[in-house]
Amino acid sequence: MMHWSAVGRRLRALFARDAVEREMNEELRFHLEMEAVKQERRGLSPDTARKKAAHRFGGVEAVKEAYRDARGVRPLENLLQDVRYAIRSLRQSPGFALVAILTLALGIGITTAVVSIADHVLVRGLPFREPSRLMTMLERDDHGAFRTPSGPTAADWQRDSGVAGALEGVTYIRGDGMTLRVGDESETVGAAFVGPEFFPLIGVRPTLGRLLGADDHRAGAPRLGVMSYKLWKRRFGGDPAILGRSISVDRAPMIIVGVLPNGAVYPGFADLWTPISGYPRKEILLQRGFHADSRTLGRLRPGVDSARAVALMRGIGARLAAVYPAEQAGWMPGIRAMQLEIVGDVGPMLWTLAAAAAAVLLLACANVASLLLARVTTRRRELAVRSALGASRGRIVGQLLTESLMLALAGGLVGTAIAAFSVTLFQKVPGNSLPRVEELSVDQRVLLIATVATIVTALVCGIWPALRATRHRSGEILRASALGSIGVKSESRMRRVLVTVQFALALVLLVGAGLLLQSFRRAAAVDVGFDPSGLLALRIAPPAGAYTTPREAAALYARLMEAARAVPGVRETAFINHSPFGRAAMYTSLAIEGRSALDSSNQVFYRTVSDSYLRTMGMSMVAGRWFDAEDMRSPGGSFVINETMAKQYWRGASAVGQRITLTRASQGRADFGQPLFGRVVGVVADVHQRSPDVPPDAEVYVPYTLETWPWGMLMMRARDGRRATPALARAVASVDPRLIAPGAAGANAFSVAEEAIAGSLQPRKLSMSLIAAFAACALILAAIGMYGVVAYSIAQRTREIGVRKALGATDERIAVMIARESLAVVAVGVVLGSVAAAGGARLIRGLLFNTGLADPGTYAGTIVLLAGTALLATFLPARRAMRLDPTIAMRGE
């Protein structure tokens, strides 16, 4: 039962402590005076009366303590006192405080930054309703290949009761490129043609306007579209007046009714969503065998997991395989979390980073714990005095913990600033390929993480030294400290253990960094199959309404190749629909004469090329022949395939002469999508298409005149590389000035093959650099730890070293003695670390390229580096020991 006024009284006791104390003293003095007056009235002399009064009163201090206790704020008061005490004592050793705070700030800052990035990408969901239930629908075969279902198959799934038992709904999304024209500029944007069930299924709310409703999908409805946030910002400056505005898409008006939130993009290529009822190439939707450029999305029913869902869908899979054996035999429905499609396989990298960051934080903690241990050792006398004066062990531990909490709080504050800075920096890393990185920000969750990291750090660093420091009885210490120090030896041993752990952790990180570095070097050294030096590419996209017939477009490309080749220093030029290491690629379905259905994924890369392409790229033939000028003039019937395709489909038997049929995905033109029959005339050596560390896929080349694309890539080999681009830009403009922007913008439009290859390795380089940075941090922290321990141990052993010298030990002997102790620490650390690294390396297995987990070079290099670092950290303090004058050293402390 506590009266409300008691709260006010407690607050006053805490925050107006001085006034409350003054009042108490005043009240007690009054009491004493009155007592004295009373005694005087009884006839005692004033002096005796005062003594008598004091005797009757009892011990003044004891009364005061009882009075204070009754105020009921003791624990809080103690805390405030501890905080004041901690700040005072930290201010007395600013060097210690600074080193400890900076070490902690680094650890907390890095961990917080990495954990918030990992949290953002891995843990926090996509900006859709219950994203964990959203599934990408697939078809799988027995060999593990998968494909997206065709339109008719998806429609069959939508009507099936088994599917309905597993999923709330299924929606088929058709993707295509559309030409968006704003003013005089046109560009190709990704469009998603969606059914009326798409938006309710995915569960998203528009940032602006509305989504597409059922009415919008009826025949005769106006052509409507919903726009991505990115396109809205980039093309229309984020102007809300976009709503209801008619824009030109594929040379016809489209009215924009809504804008999706930032980051809410599915499928990933889409910038526009428009009703599938308005899809111009309806025949594709009806082709059972057409799998390219679509997505099928489903939403799991609550309580149904993916294994159960796949089981429920088996029935429809078997029925379709029976009815349509040509297209469906061997393919069963499957699902994959949509999260995986969007986030991709950055998981291992982020987990690795998080583990590395945690290791760095642990190292920082070990350093601070070691510092605190050294500090309580020197402060043992002070603590003993406090204990003798009546402070309980709990009180002293509490006070020491308060001190480490103060350190951690300061470190946490600085660390949060470091985290915010690192996250911003991370977003700006060029070539950062993390999904949805632009939405990343430092928010209250990050602050929460930082706070938790801080408190945990304080406890981890502080509790052990505090408990150890208060283990001995005060009397022992007060007596012993005259002689030297009690427990110093065991403290030194503890600090050695900490340094050993630090070296073990550093080894794990260094090995990880070394393996990633090795992988990166090997990936960068891969022969990509063509010569990238001086190779340039320029995307050619004719203006809307120009060069619309295949003849006109082919003639334009021929003129462009000729004009570019005329530029001095340009040796070869060629034309291709999508260049390797470019962002875009196209697949075609493949059928082989004499085989009913292919045994695996029958999607192969599809390239339309000029006959000069092989020469320009510096590629080589494996068998048969490349295209000649005659193939370009009268195309048809001749295909060239790559080595991987030859091996994959003909298993070493000669592919040359085989008859195949290609049915490639339609892109942009109504006359595409017809099957192409022909014979393989040659096998060309593999070219890496995406990245040096991704093995090449099967690929087929056809003459560019066989199927002339409305856009493509002009390839040029120039002696001067990038420096040739202004002249090349002028040459292109001389053919048609609308093809290239004037001046520097035109020259910058060229992409350099060497840069594109380097760019494809950017994610690998990024993760390697981050881990390397962590490993460097770890090495420095371990070195600091070693330095501290050696310096302290030498200071403790000044006398011993003096004696040894006086007895004739040379400087070298002393140095060897000290170095041997450090190396022993490193040796134990290496053994422990190697065991941990062997386990930890599994984590990064997926990130390695052509590098074994137990790469001997990496381990050897790491051990040499660790030993060298340890010796350096030992040498600096050891030099002091060698310079010792024995006579001074022996005279004592």
Binding site: H3, F30, H31, E33, Y67, D69, A70
Partner: protein, 111 residues
């Protein structure tokens, strides 16, 4: 001084005695000790080390309040005053004390 006759007041009882001595008028701490000793003819002595914590406790419960005032000699002193809640509580405590005393008395009589 016959130390044996002077008893420190047991806690709990002390609270009741303090409240009782404040029923007539507000008093300062020393005055309370004097009043209790005077009424009990020095049988009960109040130790300041018990009195002042008790006064804090009683304030926490809202049974008394304190404010600074002046004595007849013009000296500043802290005066404690019984609140309405304190008066109610004193009534209850007195009743239950009387019941207990009567009960103990009855036991002693039969024994």
């Amino acid at each position: 001084m016959a130390q044996a006759r002077e008893r420190d007041v047991v806690q709990g009882t002390l609270d009741m005695l303090v409240l009782k001595s404040l029923t007539l008028a507000p008093m300062h701490g020393w005055g309370i000790t004097q009043r209790i000793e005077q009424i009990t003819k020095n049988v009960l002595q109040v130790n300041p080390g018990s009195l002042y914590p008790a006064l804090e406790r009683l304030q926490d419960r809202g049974w008394i309040s304190a404010e600074w005032g002046t004595t007849e000699n013009g000296r500043k002193a802290k005066y404690y005053k019984l609140t309405a809640a304190g008066r109610r509580n004193l009534g209850e405590e007195t009743d239950s004390w009387r019941r207990m005393v009567a009960a103990v008395e009855a036991v002693l009589r039969t024994a």
